[in-house]
């Protein structure tokens, strides 16, 4: 590959990593927090509040890990995968009865 094509490849990789960290990280943090709120065996209002409170820390940690972990494939799989899986489980479960 030429130097220019390598650089362009790196540019797309960086963009993909940024998108995964920012959008994927938000989606994963929201989904995990919501799943935790749904499954925690305490009062619904309390579980909901804990999920909301802790979600930002989760988002920050996921976002930083997305830039710390070298393999982009792994980052994308973990973040997008967790987000999709959690949302799927939540949709199947539905809100608390």
């Amino acid at each position: 590959m030429t130097m220019a094509r390598k650089a362009a490849g790196r540019g797309w990789h960086l963009a993909a990593r940024c998108l995964t960290a920012l959008v994927g990280g938000y989606a994963a943090a929201a989904a995990i927090a919501s799943l935790g709120a749904r499954l925690l065996p305490i009062a619904a209002a309390e579980a909901t509040a804990w999920g909301m409170i802790l979600s930002f820390l989760l988002f920050a940690v996921l976002g930083l890990w997305a830039f710390h972990e070298h393999r982009l494939g792994r980052v994308a799989l973990v973040i997008w995968g967790t987000a999709l899986a959690s949302v799927a489980i939540l949709l199947l479960l539905g809100p608390r009865g």
């Binding site: 929201a30 619904a44 309390e46 409170i53 920050a60 930083l64």
Partner: protein, 517 residues
């Protein structure tokens, strides 16, 4: 981690600096509003009296409205604020939206003072960034997340965090900026981490509503379970008069064991099914949400109260309280203010470190470096000038001028961006010196303009024991001194290397002339 720390800080730094400055100023929101209406000399009254005069005004001016929102004064805000919502059918006949009214709590008469946003302007800018809803809050939230990431990565990056705490090397260029950044960041690290995280929590319902959707088919059910259901009995259609409000306030204060009401919400005031909800003032404790008690308006009977919060809801309330600092007495409030300024210093030194690291003496700066230098000047030097212009405009625009509140706000933005634009015409070093000097002059002018346009100048305030006005003017002078000192330091550092260069160049010029001759 250092790489991401730098990028997070750089991309969000200018907005974060503005959020820090305006947010820090907002710890004195009511004081700023009082300084900006020098005509008023209100005295604090007990809450039952303030409630009684407010209800009397509402009964005289909006007797058939659907809801009255009455924000009772405390010892800092002094004035009562009332906002009423008209009935849907009546609203069709009235095109103008009801404005908020401010009353003298002792007499119940509307305030006669110059129209101004006061401290509300900085407060709203702090989390809305003068952008239309919801974009401002989203952008502020994004910057707060970047800040959270920068804090975590900053701590991870900084392995020698405690040794470097005691290191401050003056006059060594990039190394000095790094030391200053470390000290301001580490010294107040618990505050910075707390203020960032609790800031996100203040708007959590907007930023992270998804756990509510996971547990509740109807989002309103969460609010009802967490904070107590609002009384929403519809109007019965039978007219009735409200019972006197002062005894209800007394009953609530007894139930709260001395806690004060901060807000009064009256629904369907002229109806037999009217309700009066008293919301406790957030000043009483760390939890900013103090709970509420509802009474029947026509009989005074106690209807319901908000449930005591569970640990999670209590935690959220305490986080809100820590961010807002309503519970703080005067000493702690000044501590909040100084810690907020330290946060601003952390962001500013970080931005300055970024350029110091990449400046190569003699080499032409790359485009990105030039942009960052100019944005740094625009944020760090020109925003303070804009804030000073807001205060100067308050004194210089005539009190009776219509639309003066918007003009004051416009003055801040015109001076902020205008000065930043003018600074583009100057070389970077001169731009720093001149913009900081303009900002210093603007702040120094505030006490002078205050003394010449009102009867509450600095000397008069000190003589009459007016603590608020005296402290405000002195604070303006202190800020002016700080900015002026910064401008002076930069001008000295700029002069020294240039002198050496001039000396070196003279022999070459002489040689050239000799060759030409």
């Amino acid at each position: 981690m250092a790489w991401i720390h730098g990028w997070l800080g750089l991309l969000a730094g200018w907005i974060l600096f503005a959020m820090f400055l305006t947010g820090t100023a907002s710890y004195f929101r009511p004081e700023i509003t009082r300084w900006m209406q020098p005509e008023l000399h209100l005295r604090a009254v007990p809450p039952d009296m303030a409630a009684a005069t407010a209800v009397a005004w509402a009964q005289a001016n909006a007797p058939h409205d659907e809801q009255w929102y009455i924000y009772l004064p405390d010892d800092r805000t002094i004035a009562t604020r009332i906002f009423t919502r008209p009935r849907p059918d009546a609203a069709a006949a009235r095109t103008a939206r009801r404005e908020e009214v401010r009353l003298d709590p002792a007499s119940g008469r509307p305030l006669a003072a110059r129209d101004t946003r006061g401290g509300e302007h900085f407060y709203r800018f702090h989390f809305q960034l003068q952008l239309p809803h919801p974009w401002g809050r989203w952008l502020a939230g994004l910057c707060a997340m970047f800040m959270l990431g920068a804090i975590l990565s900053g701590v991870v990056t900084h392995k020698r965090i405690f040794v470097d705490f005691f290191t401050l090397r003056w006059g060594k260029g990039q190394r000095s900026w790094l030391d200053a950044h470390n000290v301001s960041a580490v010294l107040a690290l618990p505050f910075h981490a707390m203020i960032t995280y609790t800031g996100l929590i203040t708007l959590v319902l907007m930023y992270m509503p998804w756990p509510i959707a996971a547990n509740y088919a109807k989002p309103a059910a969460f609010a009802a379970e967490a904070f107590g259901a609002e009384p929403d009995t519809p109007a019965s259609g039978r007219p009735a008069r409200l019972v006197p409000i002062a005894p209800l306030v007394g009953a609530a204060m007894r139930e709260w064991q001395g806690g004060r009401p901060g807000t009064l919400i009256v629904r369907n005031p002229d109806d037999a099914a009217s309700t009066v909800t008293l919301v406790r003032d957030g000043n009483d404790g760390l939890n900013a949400r103090g709970g509420s008690i509802s009474y029947a308006g026509a009989t005074g009977a106690r209807l319901s109260a908000s449930p005591p919060p569970g640990p999670a809801i209590e935690t959220a309330g305490v986080m809100l309280g820590l961010h807002m600092g309503w519970f703080a007495g005067p000493v702690l409030r000044w501590a909040y203010f100084l810690l907020g300024l330290t946060g601003g210093a952390m962001v500013a030194t970080g931005l300055l470190l970024w350029t110091a690291k990449r400046r190569r003496p003699g080499a032409r700066p790359f485009l990105g470096l030039g942009c960052v230098e100019r944005l740094n000047i625009g944020a760090i030097a020109c925003l303070p000038a804009g804030m000073a212009a807001f205060f100067l405009a308050n004194r210089l625009i005539p009190a009776a001028q219509p639309g003066r509140a918007d003009m004051e706000v416009a003055a801040m933005f015109w001076v902020w961006f205008g000065l930043a634009a003018l600074a583009l015409l100057r070389p970077v070093r001169r731009a720093w010196i001149e913009t900081l000097a303009v900002a210093a002059a603007a702040f120094a002018a505030i006490p002078i303009v205050n003394a010449s346009t009102t009867d509450r100048g600095l000397l008069r305030s000190i003589a009459s024991g007016d603590g608020l006005f005296a402290a405000f003017d002195l604070a303006m002078l202190a800020i002016a001194t700080g900015l002026g000192f910064a401008a002076w330091r930069i001008s000295r550092a700029a002069a020294a290397p240039r002198r050496r260069a001039t000396v070196a160049r003279v022999p070459a010029a002489v040689t050239e002339l000799a060759d030409a001759a």
